[in-house]
Each structure stands twice: as structure tokens, then as C-alpha cells.
């Protein structure tokens, strides 16, 4: 077994044990991180596999949150059975629409057009009454998962919510890992590296890229659904380009194109943010957490050009060099 896999498995077990501490603050913090990890992994399919750098990925995250909030009845809990598929369908439909338009461009133009679509949706929710304007919408009751009247999961309880998110994160990780290694993933990688050659081999780029865009948008929607569940609140900020940039930063921090890098990046980013913003540790400087955060990120990117996941690559190399005779 490869060393990297052992470390990842140990890491996953470590995360799974967090709720045993019983500290609600940490359970909720790690839940939030895992949701961001799902979000960052969905972006890795675009950036790492297909080479499409999007600055509008939060659009799918945000619209999914709003869709859940708008679908939920005001005075009772919504059903996960109904709302989750509806939100995923909505995200997929939105991604198909936006993808069809933006994938006609490439490179820096792609970045600008995704940014433009993201901002369009931001202002749609910010400036109209559709989703409560800049105040957003509250979700007073979290969705329920019921079978024949029996509650399977109570998302109000941090413990249940944690494992719900943990399971979904692992599911998304394995789904995307298969996707990266599938013929579809190889075709995307080929298009990233050398589109001209792929075309001359008979691959039309658009269907492949659109497939990736829709899958990535749908999974970002899944993360947005979970996030709206956790905070019981949506506002236009979750659609803004700042948020798209934040998730891109997590991905770069953790290392692009290796999936677990997205998870590492989400953990590193949020924990760093907590650290830099801790008044107990840093006193008044904590108010300016972004300054310290920026400096650390610049340092990491300078020292580890492949992100935190790059450390794992060197570990893997050490291991591979030994036993194979």
C-alpha cells in the first residue's frame, strides 16, 4: 500500500473522531470545513482535471443554497428526499446553461466570463426581492431525512450533521477519483494538455468540457445545500466572486489536480483563518487577520509550488523508489 494512502486514511479516521471530543464548536467548525472541501473538490474537476479556471464557481454553491431556502416551507422542516434532488437538478440545469455559453471561450476570457455570470447572479439576488435582497433568507428548520415517519437523521444535532457531511465528502472524493481515472477524465486531461492534438484524434472539446462543467456545478450545488443546512441562512455573499476566489485559493493552497489537495486546502485555509483571527492568540492584530493570512498564503505558494499536496508527492516518490525491484 502506498504511503500517501495510509496517511490519507489515517487523516480521515482522525477527522471522523472529532465528534468524540464532544466540543460543539469543533464539530461545527470541521463540518463547515468538510463542506468547503466538497466545494473545492468540485472546482478541482474543472481546474485540475479539465484546466478550466473558473471565477464563478460560487454561483452554483449560492444558487443551491437559495433554492433550498426558497423550497423550504416556513414553519416546518423540508424533506431531504425532495429538496436535495431538486437542488442538484437546479444546479445541473444552471451549469448546463452557463456552461454552454462560457465554454465557447478559453484561457483568460473563460475566467472573465465565468466571473461575469457569477456577478450577474449575485446582483440578481442582491438587488431583487427574489431571495430577500441583501438580507437573504432564514431557514428556520433544517431539512429532515425520514423513512416511513421515522427520523433517520436529525441535522439539528451537530453530531448527526457532522457524519452526514463526512459521508458525503468521502462519497464525492471517491466519485471524483474514479472520474479522474476514467476514460472521460483522461479525455479531459488530454484536452487540458493539448486540445489541438485531441481534436485531431477526433475528440470534440465542447461535450467533454460541458460534462465536466455540469458535474462540477452539481457538486458545488451539493456543497451549497449542505452549507445552507448548516447555517440556516443564505445571503448574496455566498454567490459573490470573493467566495469563488476563496475556494480557488483553498484549491491552490492544497494543490491542484489531486482531489485530496482540495480537502487539505480547505482545512488549511479555514484553520489558518481561525488562527489569524484569534484574539486570544494575537490580540488586536487578529482584527487584521487577512494581512497575516495573505502573507502565509504567499509563503506557502512560494515554498510549495504544488501546494500542500506537493509534500505528499515527494513522500510517494520516496516510497516508490524502495521496494520495486
Amino acid at each position: 500500500m502506498k504511503l500517501v494512502r495510509v496517511i490519507l486514511a489515517l487523516g480521515a479516521i482522525g477527522v471522523a473522531l472529532v465528534p468524540l471530543t464532544g466540543a460543539t464548536f469543533y464539530i461545527q467548525l470541521v463540518s463547515k470545513i468538510m463542506i468547503l472541501a466538497i466545494f473545492a473538490m468540485s472546482l478541482d474537476l474543472l481546474v485540475g482535471c479539465a484546466g478550466l479556471v473558473s471565477l464563478g464557481h460560487a454561483a452554483f454553491f449560492g444558487v443551491a443554497g437559495y433554492t433550498l431556502a426558497l423550497l423550504s416551507p416556513k414553519y416546518q422542516a423540508a424533506s431531504i428526499w425532495l429538496t436535495l434532488p431538486a437542488v442538484l437538478l437546479m444546479s445541473a440545469a444552471l451549469a448546463s446553461l452557463i456552461g454552454t455559453l462560457v465554454l465557447r471561450t478559453s484561457g483568460v476570457y473563460f475566467i472573465m466570463v465565468t466571473l461575469a455570470f457569477g456577478q450577474m447572479l449575485y446582483y440578481l439576488f442582491h438587488d431583487t426581492k427574489l431571495g430577500g435582497g441583501s438580507d437573504g433568507i432564514y431557514l428556520y428548520f433544517k431539512p429532515e431525512l425520514k423513512i416511513a415517519g421515522a427520523k433517520l437523521l436529525d441535522l439539528e444535532r451537530p453530531f448527526h450533521f457532522f457524519y452526514f457531511v463526512f459521508g458525503i465528502m468521502l462519497g464525492v472524493y471517491f466519485l471524483l477519483r474514479r472520474t479522474f481515472a476514467s476514460p472521460f477524465g483522461h479525455a479531459l486531461a488530454g484536452l487540458r494538455v493539448n486540445q489541438q492534438r485531441m481534436r485531431s484524434l477526433g475528440f470534440p472539446p465542447l461535450p467533454y468540457k460541458l460534462g465536466a462543467f455540469v458535474l462540477a456545478g452539481t457538486l458545488a450545488g451539493l456543497a451549497g445545500y449542505l452549507s445552507a443546512c448548516q447555517f440556516g441562512f443564505v445571503n448574496p455573499e455566498i454567490l459573490s466572486w470573493h467566495y469563488s476566489a476563496t475556494v480557488l485559493m483553498m484549491l491552490i493552497l492544497g494543490g491542484v489536480g489531486r482531489l485530496y489537495g482540495a480537502i487539505l486546502g480547505a482545512f488549511a485555509y479555514v484553520l489558518l483563518q481561525e488562527l489569524m483571527g484569534s484574539q486570544a492568540l494575537l490580540g488586536a492584530a487578529a482584527k487584521h487577520w487577512q494581512l497575516g493570512m495573505g502573507a502565509v498564503i504567499v509563503l506557502i505558494v512560494l515554498l510549495l509550488p504544488n501546494g500542500l499536496g506537493g509534500i505528499f508527492d515527494s513522500l510517494a516518490r520516496i516510497r516508490v523508489a524502495q521496494p520495486q525491484g
Binding site: 476514460p183 477524465g185 483522461h186 486531461a189 494538455v193 485531441m198 485531431s200 477526433g202 461535450p207 460534462g211
Partner: protein, 253 residues
């Protein structure tokens, strides 16, 4: 006139004020290796790019197996059976040789909902890839990472990738460039083999190889066809001697 193969008539490409290719006609049929020679800047690569669909011609006629394919993109032309290689080696260096060919074969057999299975889960793709590797003599190197292959092997792999798409026409842009003597001999043998079952267009500067292989030659100068004909006709042409081959002969002397 044969309806099989690729037939282009009156191809012209104008870049701004520069006419890169002017009124070139060419016909490629199965079993014939057609070489295009000419000095640098003669428009040979522009011609290949137009035939493969990488570049849209300003004007001209394209027929492939009797079908008008003018304006078809390179991915569609590849689907019809026009394969090519580039002057620069175009392989995916981080994949193994087999994966490179499997990727190519996959374009003929897309599995749209194949997200959940590994690339090895499709035996027909693997078989196709192995066949292509065997055709170029790389079967022993199937598991090697493409980027670690020698220059000559990478050229062979590049051709194998095209073969994995089962083309009828092969457009090869300087497959011998940068090769050592031994590698060249191997490649010439491979091209001769390929010419039996494909229509091959070869752009090449290595005149020994061209005259060893080509049945038909087209000599281009400044974007125009100077002369086109069988090898004997080209060799005998005083015009070609003056414009092009003469200088080569002098180098040899």
C-alpha cells in the same frame, strides 16, 4: 476518377497579404505514399493543416470518399478517417504509451456515462491500443511513461496514437525530424509498412527517405506546386533540379 481517398482541388490560404498556399491540388489514395517536398516556407505545413482541418482554407474543394468535407473541423475529419501527426511531437508525456493509445482509441468508442470505471475496464479499447502499439513496434514499451521514451520512440508513439483511431488517410508532418540514423531506418521501414494499407501524405526534408518511400511527389515552392508526378518524373525534371534538388545534390557532392 477514384472516389476513394482524399481529394483537394485548388487549395488556397491567404494570411492577410501573404498567400501561403496558392491553388494546390492533391490526391491521396490508399496504398500510395505521396510526398510533399520543398524548401522551408514553401507552405507544406499550411497544406497539411488545411487537409486535416486545423486551418480553414481561403478557398478550395475537399472531397473525402466522394463526400464534400469543406469547412469540417479537425475532430470531425478525424472521425471520418483522416489522421495526422504534427511536426512537434504531440504525446501526453505523463501517461504510459498504452494509455496514450487507449485515449486515442476512445474517441472512436465514446462511453458517455463512463465516469465510474477505470480506463482499463474497456477491453476493446485496450486491444485497439495494443494493436496500434504493435503496428509501430512499441509493444514492448506499452507500460513505459511516454515522456521517458527516446525521441524516436516518441515519434513512433505519436503515429501509433493516430493509428489507434483507425484512419484511412495519414498526414505526417516531418516524422523523421530530429532522428538519428538508426531511428530513421526504423521509421522508414514503418512508413513503408503503413503505406500499404493507408493513403499517406508525407512532408519530409530527408531526401533519402523521401526517394526511398514516395511513389508520387509534389514539389512546392513559395506556396505553389512547382511540379507533381511520379518519382521518375520528378527526378527527371530540370525545373525541380534547378529549384530544389540541385542544392541537395551539391551538398552531397
Amino acid at each position: 476518377m477514384s472516389e476513394r481517398g482524399l481529394r483537394a482541388v485548388g487549395l488556397t490560404k491567404v494570411f492577410g497579404g501573404l498567400t501561403a498556399v496558392s491553388d494546390v491540388s492533391i490526391e491521396l489514395t490508399r496504398g500510395v505514399l505521396h510526398a510533399v517536398i520543398g524548401p522551408n516556407g514553401a507552405g507544406k505545413t499550411t497544406l497539411i493543416n488545411m487537409l486535416s482541418g486545423d486551418l480553414a482554407p481561403t478557398s478550395g474543394i475537399f472531397h473525402f470518399n466522394g463526400r464534400d468535407i469543406f469547412g469540417y473541423s479537425s475532430d470531425l475529419r478525424s472521425q471520418f478517417g483522416i489522421g495526422r501527426t504534427y511536426q512537434k511531437i504531440n504525446i501526453f508525456p505523463s501517461f504510459t504509451a498504452l494509455e496514450n493509445c487507449r485515449l486515442a482509441a476512445q474517441s472512436r468508442e465514446p462511453h458517455p456515462l463512463s465516469l465510474l470505471r477505470g480506463t482499463g475496464a474497456y477491453p476493446s479499447l485496450t486491444r485497439e491500443a495494443e494493436r496500434a502499439l504493435a503496428a509501430v513496434g512499441l509493444e514492448q514499451r506499452a507500460q513505459a511513461i511516454a515522456g521517458t521514451l527516446s525521441h524516436g520512440e516518441q515519434r513512433q508513439l505519436d503515429i501509433a496514437m493516430s493509428l489507434a483511431t483507425r484512419p484511412q488517410v495519414l498526414l505526417l508532418d516531418e516524422p523523421l525530424s530530429g532522428m538519428g540514423a538508426e531511428e530513421s531506418v526504423k521509421m522508414v521501414r514503418l512508413l513503408r509498412e503503413l503505406a500499404k494499407a493507408h493513403a499517406v501524405l508525407l512532408v519530409e526534408h530527408d531526401m533519402d527517405a523521401v526517394f526511398a518511400l514516395a511513389e508520387v511527389l509534389t514539389v512546392m515552392v513559395d506556396g505553389c506546386v512547382l511540379q507533381s508526378g511520379t518519382q521518375e518524373q520528378i527526378r527527371a525534371s530540370a525545373e525541380v533540379q534547378r529549384a530544389y534538388l540541385g542544392s541537395v545534390e551539391e551538398h552531397r557532392g
